[in-house]
């Protein structure tokens, strides 16, 4: 009997079969047992029908990517077998509902796949509700990999606690029936067994929720949004804790209303954030310029999906980077940050709250569906390193000492002391027209140039202290892989699986604080590299374009994926090996 360090598990079926709910429970069960988790869902934009999957990687080591191959496929319908048979690993298992789907023994045998046709529906009905096929299959999988039901019972109980004792009991029974069926009828001669591991204090969380927590930790008190996949779970989570945290969370009429409410609140002194996807940002774009001209600090989150237009709304892509850097007419300062995983989303969410107030300008956080909706295990977040910095926000006593207060007074660092409405002696016009120091509309040549320079200076000030790109791997290596955002997980997971000799030849650069662009750092890295490989989830290599724009260096070697799917770990391992 072989022990294994990881398991790639996928459940498939129609929307309404409880695919996501099963996946979430499955993840929690293994997380509580101490394993590391990364999950990924595929679903069309509809509520019933269609084909849905929940793919989950269980590992004894930290994991932040999905594999193409699946060790155990749970097929709640025929489509799940037909669509995913090719992904099932040699020697893997397909658990399927033998009343709903067929799998020919010859086909299974061709890949030495163990075909477990179970009476999932029958067992679910026996437990009290035929809808519980998902829970029966969790029990069956747990038996396969030699886990017990202690933790699973606890997870199922807490998951269904809100639905009453009867539902809890039925689900616990469903779990046991699935578990016992496999224990009784199947010998542990395949797949078995996951190496046991010590329990830890991790949480299982998405980057959306992590970002929200980071913002909350750093004093977010005003969040406005209009639902848009895949950003909506930020809204849902913040709304669920709004009363508890004293945060105003508003679902506004449209994205233009969203950003203008946030700007009104931010100008009045709130720590405001908005969240949406690319299409929503497109609607907010004119107001992005308004934020910059009125010097109103606001955090805008763009959780990218596949565009343009409605595109593939529930799939993943990194197609908005250049849009975020250039959106809105004219030149103005903005900060753009791209976290690569849940922990970074938490850190960036907190940091952005400060940056918006310190630099009095919009701060854009750009992530994507892969990490925004996918959950991963991380140690509980700490607030130890978070400090509130409200920049040059004046206290009343300070403002009272200023004669002839000017909100947009010129200053070397570009940042002017700020009053907020309600303060005595701080009157000004937050003006969408070009304005003078008081905020009065002013179209004089010199004033215009002074104010343009003043606003630009803020970005130059930030550029002096901003975090520089991260380097992983061997910093001296001459082969350089460049990425941004969510590809961090798959790249680092793949890198760890290279042999030592290969690892020595490669360094990996992550550009996280993307705008202002860290030109000097990136130029130096590129000039000291012999081979460069760019990895992005878009069709044009947008970071590559940006690097060319800022450094004059063109990267020819690009590995791009734009079919709505994230990079599979196998693809990246192969690419790095060839590199």
């Amino acid at each position: 009997m072989k022990t294994r360090n990881n398991l790639s598990w996928k459940i498939g079926g129609e929307a309404g079969f409880g695919i996501k709910s099963a996946g979430m429970m499955f993840g929690k069960i293994f997380m509580k047992a101490g394993y590391e988790i990364f999950d990924y869902t595929e679903y069309p934009s509809l509520i019933r029908g269609g084909h849905n999957t929940f793919h989950l990687i269980v590992d004894t080591e930290p994991v932040n990517s999905i594999t193409y191959h699946v060790d155990v496929l749970v097929a709640l319908n025929q489509e799940s077998i037909d669509k995913h048979f090719d992904e099932v690993a040699h020697g893997g298992v397909i658990i399927y509902d033998n009343a709903k789907a067929k799998l020919s023994p010859a086909k299974a045998k061709s890949k030495k796949i163990n075909a477990l046709g179970l009476p999932l529906g029958h067992l679910a009905e026996q437990a009290g509700n035929k809808l519980m096929r998902n829970v029966v299959s969790i029990g069956a999988t747990l038996a396969l990999v030699d886990q017990n039901l202690v933790i699973a019972n606890r997870v199922v109980k807490s998951n269904f606690a809100g639905k009453g004792q009867k539902v809890v009991d039925q689900n616990i029974k469903a779990l046991k029936l699935g578990f016992d069926y496999v224990k009784k009828d199947y010998k542990k001669d395949f797949i078995c067994c996951l190496k046991t591991i010590k329990a830890n204090d991790n949480i299982l969380i998405s980057a959306n929720e992590s970002l929200a927590l980071g913002a909350l930790a750093a004093g977010l008190n005003f969040y406005v949004a209009y639902p848009m996949t895949p950003s909506s779970s930020i809204l849902h989570f913040l709304a669920s804790v709004a009363v508890k945290t004293g945060t105003v969370v508003k679902h506004a009429e449209d994205e233009i209303g969203v950003i203008n409410m946030a700007l009104g609140a931010a100008n009045a002194g709130a720590r405001a954030m908005v969240g949406t996807s690319g299409g929503g940002i497109a609607l907010m774009t004119e107001s992005l310029g308004l934020a910059a001209l009125t010097e109103t600090g606001v955090v805008m989150v763009n959780v990218q999906r596949v565009g343009p237009a409605t595109g593939m709304p529930t799939w993943t892509e990194q197609g908005d980077l250049q849009f975020m850097i250039h959106a809105a007419p004219a030149d103005f300062p903005r900060i753009v940050i791209a976290p690569g995983d849940a922990q970074e989303a938490y850190n960036v969410g907190a940091h952005a709250m400060n940056l918006a107030e310190m630099y009095q300008t919009p701060v854009i956080i750009i992530s994507d569906k892969l990490i925004a909706e996918g959950n991963t295990t991380v140690p509980k977040f700490s607030t130890k390193n978070i400090k509130i910095n409200r920049g040059k926000l004046l206290k009343q006593a300070q403002l009272s000492k200023i004669k002839d207060y000017r909100r947009y007074k010129l200053s070397a660092d570009g940042i002017s002391p700020r009053s907020i409405p309600g303060m005595k002696g701080g009157l000004y016009i937050a003006n969408s027209d070009e304005h003078d120091g008081y905020g009065f509309s002013n179209e004089d040549s010199k004033n215009r140039i002074d104010q343009v320079h003043k606003r630009q200076a803020k970005l130059d000030t930030f550029a002096k202290t901003m975090p520089q790109p991260e380097i992983y791997g061997n910093p001296k290596a001459k082969k350089t892989v460049i990425f941004w955002g969510s590809n961090k997980g798959v790249l680092l997971d793949a890198y760890r699986r290279l042999d030592k000799k290969q690892q020595q030849k490669i360094k990996i650069m992550q550009i996280k604080y993307i705008w202002p662009f860290p030109t000097k750092f990136v130029s130096n890295v590129l000039k000291n590299s012999k081979n460069v490989l760019l990895i992005e989830n878009n069709s044009n290599g947008q970071l590559g374009n940006l690097i060319a724009q800022e450094t004059g260096i063109m990267i020819k070697n690009k590995f791009l994926k734009y079919d709505g799917r994230p990079f599979y770990r196998e693809e990246i391992i192969q690419k790095l090996k060839q590199f």
Partner: protein, 285 residues
């Protein structure tokens, strides 16, 4: 307070005889008579001739984009309920670019006063037809006459549950001042559409046009402005006689007033501190 306490020294950019002068004066007088302090007043302007008044208002001012003064006003009021928050814009902002925001602010009944300076023309962009231009109105963008029927702002506000619906007239500044005072004192969304003759571009809806037609509901002894049906009926009156004054005033919970997070103290007056998130992570454990 004096009305001049609310006036800056910025030189006016309005045409001589423009209705905006009287509306701005009425706003300042209303604020002064209510003894509000400029430091505690926030006026959200749109973009257009009327919104250029942003520069003449001595208070906190948010000069937004075209069509957007209302959502920024709603956001500001949620953030600091202690402020007196007004929005002021033209009919292009209110009924063209920003119509959606207006209806939703009305639904929510946010405690702000919205003064729409309705001249039935696009003044700042040299006289094109506005959403409130009467059908057949000829202008640069509609040389054969506008095909659409005019928006009915009063009817729209009433139909969507606005709790204070009034129409003012720049030619009756003292009455307008009283309307604005009543609007500010009203708990909820106060909507005041103001007829504002544009002496440069609108040769139809002149001061005389209104003097010949307007009758004041506030002076009609038998008019009950607490009755929505009566108000709706009056909102449909247009032609030789046109009503102005308070069409309707009702009561409804003010937006946000029932939010526990806004009880006691304005949001922005609570200190910004590092928040303990330990309890918030329990759902992920």
């Amino acid at each position: 307070m004096k009305h001049t306490d609310f006036e800056t020294t910025y030189k006016s950019t309005w045409c001589p005889g423009c209705g905006n002068h009287a509306i701005a004066l009425s706003m300042r007088q209303a604020l002064a008579e209510l003894n509000l302090k400029p430091d505690n007043v926030l006026i959200n302007y749109g973009i257009g001739c009327s919104s250029n008044g942003a520069n003449f208002s001595k208070s906190y001012v948010w000069h937004s984009l075209h069509g957007r003064p209302v959502p920024s006003a709603v956001g500001a009021k949620l953030a600091n309920q202690d402020l007196t928050v007004l929005a002021s814009s033209g009919d292009g902002d209110a009924y063209g670019e920003g119509l959606g925001h207006l209806i939703h602010a009305i639904r929510g009944n946010a405690d702000i006063t919205y003064i729409v300076q309705d001249n039935k023309v696009y003044g700042l962009t040299t006289g094109q037809a506005a959403p409130t231009s009467n059908k057949g109105y000829k202008a640069k963008s509609t040389p054969e006459g506008i095909i659409e029927k005019a928006v009915n702002p009063i009817g729209l506000a009433l139909a969507n549950g606005c709790t204070f619906v009034a129409r003012g007239f720049a030619g009756d500044a003292s009455h307008l001042k009283s309307l604005i005072m009543a609007g500010i004192q009203h708990k909820g969304f106060a909507f005041i559409d103001v007829f504002q003759p544009c002496v440069t571009f609108n040769k139809v809806n002149t001061f005389k046009f209104y003097y010949d037609r307007l009758y004041n509901l506030d002076k009609k002894k038998d008019y009950n402005n607490k009755d929505l049906q009566t108000a709706l009926k009056q909102s449909q009156v247009w032609g030789n006689k046109i009503p102005y004054g308070i069409f309707y005033q009702g009561k409804r919970d003010v937006y946000g007033v029932n939010l526990p997070q806004l009880k006691g103290q304005a949001l922005v007056k609570k200190p910004v501190k590092v928040r303990d998130i330990n309890n918030l992570m329990k759902v992920f454990a």
